[in-house]
């Protein structure tokens, strides 16, 4: 049992040393598209913030929307680039949190419903009732543009749950995969973040002869930077304001392209009340 003693000793000693973490300011972002590019996208943001804030800044990559919220809740990260829904969930879980900045485009975000050409559906201004009895994929389960808003409008129109309307309902995990799945025909229909769609269309990843947009939702507020309320206590008074200003000041085209947004503008928690109401309406959050 000598092995066991060694093991226990090492376990104890190493778990003590970790409490003395250096005061690194950490942030994360929801993995909403092509995960292999996350480090590339947010590494630049970390470098920028480090220069602006004068403290060490680290980007923490995560695998899912829920993991981003959990890391924020457990104070593993103090700042996060959330979607509308994940932001509402995170601020609900951590009292004192604040939405401090959103992308310019996030003030009037929309979702595209997309269809494989085999579905026989094409672009319309009215809600496409012909989507019933086909296969449908959402994005991640916790996505605003890939799940919450499309599900809301689908339920509103049919007065039924997606499982009752479609022959099969899937969750692709991110917008790039939604596009790939509908393009290949694995699903006939999907709901996708319009920014990711246009980004990938411009990059030539999408084959317009296989998959196209058939409807867009009315606009709603989406992505935002949210920050924990206790950061001033750890990094000094005015730190939160400084983070906010640094984000609003981003003008480097390369950094903005990583989101992709044209600029960042101010945001408040109240801006996201409609998202919270929608989440409660479709049962994703409990009413208080």
């Amino acid at each position: 049992m000598r092995l066991l003693t060694v093991l226990t000793a090492l376990l104890v000693s190493s778990s003590i040393s970790l409490s003395a973490l250096a005061e690194t300011f950490s942030f994360t972002a929801i993995p909403d598209q092509d995960e292999s590019r996350l480090q590339e996208r947010f590494g630049k943001v970390a470098a920028y913030l480090e220069k602006e804030l004068g403290v060490k800044v680290k980007y923490v990559p995560v695998k899912s929307y829920a993991a981003a919220v959990t890391a924020y809740r457990n104070n593993q990260v103090q700042l996060a680039w959330f979607g509308g829904l994940s932001g509402v969930q995170a601020r609900e879980l951590v009292a004192g949190s604040e939405a401090i900045a959103q992308g310019y485009e996030d003030q009037f975000f929309v979702t595209y419903l997309i269809a494989n050409k085999r579905s026989g559906l094409s672009m319309s201004d009215d809600f496409p009732a012909g989507i019933a009895n086909k296969t449908f994929t959402f994005g991640a389960k916790g996505s605003t543009s890939g799940r919450l808003m499309p599900e809301f409008y689908i339920r509103e129109h049919f007065k039924k749950s997606p499982e009752q309307i479609f022959t099969r309902v899937g969750f692709s995990d991110d917008h790039s995969r939604t596009i790939a799945l509908v393009q290949s025909g694995a699903y006939e229909l999907g709901a996708v973040n319009y920014k990711v769609w246009e980004d990938e269309l411009a990059a030539g990843i999408i084959d317009p002869s296989e998959v196209s947009v058939i409807w867009q939702t009315p606009s709603y507020p989406d992505y935002q930077w949210s920050i924990r309320g206790d950061v001033d206590a750890r990094w000094g008074t005015g730190f939160k304001a400084k983070v906010k200003q640094s984000l609003l000041n981003i003008s480097d085209a390369e950094i903005l392209a990583a989101f992709p947004r044209q600029s960042f503008v101010e945001a408040t928690n109240d801006d996201y009340q409609p998202i919270k109401d929608t989440a409660m309406a479709i049962g994703l959050m409990d009413a208080e």
Binding site: L3, L10, S14, S15, A71, A186, Y187
Partner: protein, 496 residues
Amino acid sequence: MNVKTRPHNNTRLKLSLWLALAGFIALLFADIDMHRASPGQELLRMAQGLMAPNFWSYREIASSAFNTLAFALQGMALASAAGFILALLYRHPAVRGFCAFIRAIHELFWALIFIQLFGLSPLTGLLAIAIPYAGTLAKIYGELFEETEAAPRNNLLQSAGLSAFFYTTLPLAWRPLLQYTSYRFECAIRSSIVLGFVGLPTLGYHLETALGNGQYNDAAALLYVLLAIVVSLRWWLKKALLPVYLVAALIYLPPNAHFSWANIARFLSEDIIPAPLRNKANIDYVAVFDWLAMLWQQQILPGVTSTLILSQIALLLTAILSLAWFPLNSRQFFSPLKRSLGDGFLIIARTLPEYLLAFIGLLLLGPSMLPAILALGIHNGAIIAHLLGRYSGELVLREDACTGINRYSYEILPRVYRQFLALLLYRWEVIMRETAILGMLGIGTLGFYIDSAFEEFRFDRALLLILCAAILNIIADMFARNLRQRLHLRPSPETL
């Protein structure tokens, strides 16, 4: 065949027919459409990836490979120590029950729980492997101790206490105990890889990204590393070197955690309390009942039904594949050279975790139960075929025994069938456990609803659903154990 064994043959036949019937009935209710328009094209791209693996991001590959090994080593060290102690107390029903319970919860579910407590930290990975593995090892060790020859112990003048155990029982059980532990280490590597799918920095983390984004060249490199690690185990996994490896693992990846009592207290006293009971002075029984009824109707019942359907079909496919494949590793059918090729195939098929196979299947065939059925069948079929092939090689046949299909049907199959059933019944529980988890890939088994509950931060629901999955596994375990006893099959299978 003599007359005395006939009743058992009958029960074996009956059991086989029942299992086949259950599988076919389940097939009627299963959702096994093919949705991918052109699986051929995707398959071609995957094959091209396998031909041209991309090792350029070798630093990422190396660090995730070391992480994978570190989690497996640390998890197994803790699990075998804890499992050993629990095995000494295995006579007590409470200990048995406790072990059955902790191993009934899949390592991925443990990981999802620990992420809430310790974040995405090394400690989360270590505990997620160590806890369920301790339960499994305690059971196997305990059964090995029970089965050892009692004579040496009974001949002691004072046959009581630990020293009697250490001088009689333990030496007799030592060899199979080591063998089984080293087999479990291979499983721990697979588990460690799969933990990457929920965000721990193992090979699975990058595999999920690469496969999901169709970067098959990157995925191929990771797959080759994974195969190389498992296949080379027999050359580097030496008893004497274990302490060295373990210390290296602890230095490379200290089991740190983002540790906060507030988080833990909040999780235990708030998060997991059923929503209708939270922050309430009086218990509102109607609200609790409504909550349970809603979960039962919308999640538990459909989740359990799909889990049962999927696992029965997977069990049937496992049975068919293992009977079809075992000659590949049998001296009775192939020359050593051909056999090593055959066994090579079986080793590759069993090295890839079911979860990974199912994920690849989903990409190829589209969403339905089909990829999950194939993944479970191929992985478990290969494991049984490997063992059955080795076992059949030890049979002594007459000089003039027939060859080919006649040898298979009339000489070998009847003699290995008992062993086959024992292994299949043992795998039943494993398949059930794995079926539940495959729901996290989007198939409607319990794992799907558990994953959703975690995504919605409804930990009360998640825990209740995990409990249901655990109960299902415990029932399958008890049922299989009971059948094995009735059929006079060894209570615990040969160490795999």
